[in-house]
Symmetry: C2
């Protein structure tokens, strides 16, 4: 698991993630099937998706609203939080 990018604060991200947990879970395991898991996602990937929702390059009725007012710092902190969550996967036999 890579460390948070320069200037990103996972602890701050954890606070911000309170607004995300209804769909994505605070631990990043999605609570509803239309939402993706975010646990252990790379900071780079999450930042790219949040910025795409913010700019409109990617659209979703909920995420476009959520991302609209996020600052770059908030996006980095949220991404650092989800990246900091350790996940492991067990494939079926």
């Amino acid at each position: 698991m890579s460390p948070a990018a320069q200037g990103a604060d996972p602890a701050e991200g954890r606070k911000l993630a309170a607004q995300c947990k209804t769909c994505h879970g605070l631990d990043g395991i999605a609570k509803i099937p239309i939402a993706p898991n975010l646990a252990g996602e790379s900071q780079m990937y999450i930042e790219k998706q949040l910025k795409a929702f913010r700019s409109g390059k990617r659209e979703h009725e909920m995420m476009s609203l959520v991302a609209r007012n996020l600052t770059d710092q908030q996006i980095s902190d949220l991404a650092a939080w989800y990246q900091s969550i350790e996940i492991n996967a067990k494939m079926p036999e």
Copy 2:
């Protein structure tokens, strides 16, 4: 973890996922930071994203190519495979 949707075959999806594993890993834990983890994602979410890449509603230089020729059945099988992978997450203290 919900069972595979009607008609979707995770075993077939596992075979298909051989073409996805370079970036996403066969177990769905991404191997490169620009790719998301797919392990344990809901079938609904993965189907929606693959169909969006196939239709052009969502764009990515790699995924738009990969999804272009996938059939609905292949999409369901791939989604069922990744949904069948068990994940758990451990938040930092």
